[in-house]
């Protein structure tokens, strides 16, 4: 007897459509603000209409041109300078934060030493307070160090705020790496440092990618500290620059929107580049089970 085999196991009829009926409105709702920002950015410098429709009534790249071309009185290219500031500060924060966090996390994950528990808890405790709390002390510190208005100052502050989170995340990941792999390497003749560099780090690529992305984004998007520490326009990072388009007297929504979009591009690019690593499973096959 030959029964007609079902061609697909997917549900049919209402069952198939119900999720879509729910998901489509939710997606639209989520995307609406983004679309609205795009509309604002594309509406040119003309001004904002009050229409709620997120589709631009006119297409103009004027706002982008203005934002990108923004220069100071002497003709110095301010936008370029600020973009550079943001990139350098974020990248430096990531590199500094991750290198320190990796080493710290490995120590916490693998070695017994006095103060290990206390250290971990202290790291955790710093995460319990809102960052704003440290604003004043940090300001004083940075001022004393003469690092106001400098990329180095901002980088130091950003790194210290991201390290605890990164350390905890990485320690959590290192804890899951089978100890035998390291023991194997130890017997094979590797030193602790070689194990760290040649076994642990490559195996932790997914976790490091995630924490790196976190650090980068945290630094890239940070506004309050930057706004407090930076006063020269040439020292601004992009979030401070964006904020400046929303002045007290005139609010330039289209410039604000355009600069926001421009500022989010690098993060999106980074996400795209790292997405392969964001999916775990790199240790598959190393140990059985």
């Amino acid at each position: 007897m030959s029964a007609q085999a079902p061609t697909s196991l997917a549900p049919t009829g209402l069952k198939a459509w119900l999720p879509h009926l729910l998901m489509v409105p939710v997606t639209i709702l989520t995307l609406y603000p983004v679309l609205y920002v795009i509309k604002l950015a594309l509406s040119g410098t003309a001004g904002v209409t009050s229409s709620a429709w997120p589709w631009p009534e006119q297409f103009s790249l004027d706002a982008f041109r203005t934002v990108i071309g923004h220069s100071d009185a002497q003709g110095g290219w301010l936008f370029g300078r600020q973009l550079f500031n943001s990139l350098v500060v974020s990248a430096a924060t990531t590199v500094l934060g991750i290198s320190l966090a990796c080493a710290a996390a490995y120590g916490f994950a693998r070695f017994e030493f006095p103060g290990r528990r206390v250290g971990l808890l202290a790291f955790l405790a710093t995460q319990m307070f809102p960052g704003i709390l440290t604003l004043i002390p940090l300001y004083v510190l940075i001022q004393k160090l003469g690092l106001l208005d400098s990329m180095l100052g901002l980088t130091l502050v950003y790194s210290t705020t991201t390290i605890p989170f990164c350390t905890w995340t990485l320690k959590g990941y290192f804890d899951t790496l089978p100890k035998e792999i390291e023991e194997s390497a130890l017997i094979d003749g590797a030193t602790r440092l070689q194990i760290f560099l040649r076994i642990i780090l490559p195996l932790s690529a997914p976790a490091i990618a995630v924490t790196a992305l976190f650090s980068f984004m945290a630094a890239w998007n940070e506004f309050v500290l930057a706004y407090t520490f930076l006063s020269r326009e040439a020292a601004y990072t992009l979030p401070v620059m964006i904020r400046n388009y929303v002045g007290e007297k005139d609010v330039q929504w289209s410039l604000f929107a355009a600069s926001s979009l421009i500022a989010s591009l690098p993060v999106m690019a980074l996400f795209y580049a790292l997405q392969k690593h964001l999916v775990g499973g790199l240790t598959a096959g190393g140990v059985k089970g």
Binding site: P178, E180, I181, E183, S184, A185, L186, I187, D188, G189, A190, Q194, I199, P202, L203, L282, T283, A284, G285, G286, V287, K288, G289
Partner: protein, 396 residues
Amino acid sequence: MARVLLTDIEKAYGDVRVVRRLNLDVADGEFLVLVGASGCGKSTTLRMVAGLEAISAGDLFIGERRVNDVAPRDRDIAMVFQSYALYPHMTVYQNLAFGLTLRGVPAAEIEKRVQEAAKMLGLVEYLQRKPAALSGGQRQRVAMGRAVVRQPSVFLFDEPLSNLDAKLRVQMRLEIARLHKRLGTTILYVTHDQVEAMTLADRIAVMHEGVLQQCAPPQEIYNRPANTYVATFIGSPAMNLLPVVAQPLPDGGARLVGSGLNVTLNSADVARYLPEGPPAGGLPEQLTVGVRPQDWRVVSDSDPQVDALMAVDVTEPLGAETFVFGELELPAGPPGQDLYAGRDGSTRHRRESACILRCEPAVPVSDGQRVALHIDRERLLLFAADGTRLAGPGHP
């Protein structure tokens, strides 16, 4: 190649002593298998030899060198883990070459050794693959290859085959035996598979709760287990252990009664269990008789040699042999002389203790039947109340 010597090795975690005063002398080139129930300290012992676990007390020598405080990489050992512990981000080739690269072996030499090991272990076509793309058996081979290329003086194996299916295990077992024959390297091998132990070992060391019970060649362990623990641990089905009471006979012999046994030993037999000369009362009173399942002989009911009667519950004909499961019974004796009379004076058959018997398929035994059994005196082991074996047949 090197001798491995453990003298009074101890391992304690806090107050818990997981390895106690362990003395082992593994000769150069010897294949020593450590067996024991789960948690008895086998892995701990191996890891102490590897240097992955600190030694709490005692001395460990590899070759002529005391290595208690020597780092693992300087002990000239290689270890194969139960979980294989391959480097997942490296290809098979890199996995094999890693240890050599670290030690600064010239590239040409690395290439040669890796290719050699790959050929020996059938890994040539997988050299460029990552471990994730290998089967369990292939990963196991890579783990072995990684040890082999290093050409260490001692191999340490911690249950290397326990993650493989039965067929592959047999195959890899042969491969390990071949490897040992070919390289002649000293091997310490942990397993709780007794077939592996029996087939691979030059000597087997049986551990129980951190204490070494016996260390001897497989046949010796099997035929003359040092105590009841070893007796039941090695051999499948396990040895029958039947508690008895020894009653001295006027002629210097003894009668062993209990658990459904009624065994008469003549004076020559008894003397063999007491090579130091008989103490005042002859054999100790409380004893345990040990009989391997194949050491029973089925005899006719009327045979004067009957040592026990067995009520057969189940027979398992396996083709080449038959396992018979049942219980030893107390037969009714003549009135007044009934050795086995119950406390209530009853003289009916009474089931005493479980018993396993292995016999030729030709021997007619069937379920529900009652068979008379005789124990070959050459194969009858006696254990004292503390579990240690009395010297016994064949013993000097």
